[in-house]
Symmetry: C2
Subunit: 476 residues, 2 copies
Amino acid sequence: MVSKPRTAWFRPKDFDMFFTSVSATTVSSMSTIEMEVFSHTQLIIMTILMFVGGEVFTSFLGLQFARSKFLKNCPSSDQNSVTLVNLNHSVPKCTNPVNQIELDLEKEKPETNTLDENGNKCLGFDSLKYSSIKFLGYVVLGYLFVVHLIGSTLVSLYISLFPSARKVLKDKGLETLTFSVFTTVSSFTNCGFVPTNENMIVFKKNSGLLLLLIPQILMGNTLYPPCLLFLIWVLKKTTKREEFRYILMNYGDMGYGHLLSGPHALLLAMTVFGFILIQFLLLCSMEWSSQVMDGLNSYQKIIGSLFQTVNSRHTGESVFDLSTISSAILVLFVVMMYLPPCTTFIPPKLHEKVSDNGKQSRKKTFMECLIFSQLSYLVIFIILICITERQKMKEDPLNFNVLNVTVEVISAYGNVGFTTGYSCKRQLKPDSLCIDTWYGFVGRWSTMGKSILIIVMFFGRLKKFSMKGGQAWNLS
Amino acid sequence: MVSKPRTAWFRPKDFDMFFTSVSATTVSSMSTIEMEVFSHTQLIIMTILMFVGGEVFTSFLGLQFARSKFLKNCPSSDQNSVTLVNLNHSVPKCTNPVNQIELDLEKEKPETNTLDENGNKCLGFDSLKYSSIKFLGYVVLGYLFVVHLIGSTLVSLYISLFPSARKVLKDKGLETLTFSVFTTVSSFTNCGFVPTNENMIVFKKNSGLLLLLIPQILMGNTLYPPCLLFLIWVLKKTTKREEFRYILMNYGDMGYGHLLSGPHALLLAMTVFGFILIQFLLLCSMEWSSQVMDGLNSYQKIIGSLFQTVNSRHTGESVFDLSTISSAILVLFVVMMYLPPCTTFIPPKLHEKVSDNGKQSRKKTFMECLIFSQLSYLVIFIILICITERQKMKEDPLNFNVLNVTVEVISAYGNVGFTTGYSCKRQLKPDSLCIDTWYGFVGRWSTMGKSILIIVMFFGRLKKFSMKGGQAWNLS
Ligand SMILES: [K+]
Ligand SMILES: [K+]
């Protein structure tokens, strides 16, 4: 990132350059400088950084590393699989509940069982496993290549077909190819940088472009495990190769965290779409006729909202100005941002199927369930109050801001009673009838908001924390 | 709460009356109306509501309920203790780690063991246990009575001795006795209501009064278990009665959640003082010469800060105006408010002593530990950034507010890239040199703040969520 910036009049500080490199490598897309100051060389360097830092590529490297280790030492099959899993440090452990669901499938794999029992000879058994891991690597690499190729081509095609998009790039002095590749890599790796200052806001009327990017965003992160599984399944059906069958049967032994069981992948996909739906409904209902979506027709509003909600899980590209968006949506986005890509809703029914050591873990997981619920209830309450007080939050932002609401809610939940209060001085449009009083901030809320706080106070008083909070901290 | 308010010119809405009743009963002290509108009758009703809703009294009722049930059915001793624990719904389960620490003590109680083995006859064994529970009830009741009596007397005495305090009450038309009893009950139950509009701010220079209330606040909630244990220990030493010995030996069987083992009570007390120390240091270092503590001398500042930090765990009485306090302290208060009174730091060493089923739970608790750590790290980062940007947060509150910082931090942690941005329009004191740009909010931060965000991005990228998030939700 020491190349010369494109716009000569502004030379970013070295620290900001470093910040941007880190941001690209960690696929964060937090920015401290405008994007249009970067030269073409710098954009290409950033493309490479994003590609290398992306989840799919790093997990591919992890897989290759595991394969090379696998080749070196050849212990018994059982230990081997453990080694593989442990080696694979760069892969997030999406596989926690896999072992449990796996138990259901275990009965249905006689072939591998025979191999397990008869193939104790190091060479005989390992060769299939080794070639399966090799094939898995090829599949991941092919997936990476195909998605990037098709994605870049489609984006390029869109820009050359639609004059409005072409004009934007021309005005900003961006080449179509650079923009297409950069945007595709950024979307697929879920980095979220776009070489325009305005991020995607400048393209908010180009619904076609947004529709092209949405699948790339999903395929590169939250929906990657289901897509990968589907691809392997298709390859198994078409090529009928033993390796693909082996991969699907022994997904847990591959040492690849993104390889899930069928049911788990399905639940993951459902979770992803569920989250998108919730955010989409809230965003549309809150902002449909607000200034955020000003100047858009209904179709553009829908696609824009969809794009924005798909981005909130990880990517972070924006078509709307978040500073003008309702606080309620902002808080929901905060929650969504907090959730890792692997977040999956697994109904208790599926957990119950697990027969062995299910009894020991049942109670613990119920406790953990409560921990999560406590926090999520609080967030829900904060969001609800942001909704009931949204008018005042817009007109009187210094008094009605989310922090004050949060303080009030947590205060009520902990039955504390702290309040930030309300000050007439802080009003942006001074109201001559406003009189400073000494009661809490909640006194200025609507009856609806106060009712919610009553529920919060009861909720807080009656909760009787029955959960345990970690090894060292006992919250109960 | 249908009595006539004291100030005739203002009649609170019925809903606000209902809100205040709920607030008093749940010992929350959230308020929607000023306190001075209440008549003496209403203040007395509120005193009763607070007393009845307080933790010590409700737990005493739970104990009496358990005792009456105990008298009715007389099963074998083991089942009995289970019944007792289960019956006691109104007592928060402070007892989770007790069972583990208990194991250490088990070896040291030959007397009770003999009773357990030889006392299988229903009557012989139960009579001691029953009378122990009865004695425990007396101790709790005595504790309640003595603390309230001494507390009220001391507060009354203070007011009659110090003209400045007497003048405040006279100006507000409050009787000394009503004020003393109301404030003592409110402090001991940790409700936090004070019959003055300004809460304790009006007494911020009466350090003596604050010093009288601090022990009442601690003894009624966070330090109640250690105090109770100490009282029983003193009674055992002085009266040498078998019942107190039995209570101390079989604290887990008493069915009283606030009865802890010695080590646990000690750790609880250390946690309480640790939290107070942390808050006290932060509050003093951030606000020592700010307008919050304006007009106070050093002694008053120290006592005021101590009072404020003691209140943040549950009580919620204030000597400082929270709306002018630094956001960093506010966020720390949010965390403190969230933590239940029983929160105890138990070093892993003590957990490791547990021999049976320690292995199964080891891994789970480590996972849970991680959950807690993730959240707490994030809060720490937010607080740090509030500290580095505190100057701007004061001057430019619409851009630099905690929500925006939180969005930025969570965004960096989740490697998302959403930002609320920065708008020159939102500046309260317009800066003619300010130019709107398209880069993120973080671009306006100091180098220190940006460095912290870099750490957050790395932390987010490298975390590899290894924890499990509850039964139904898998975050990993
Ligand atoms: K309180
Ligand atoms: K991102």
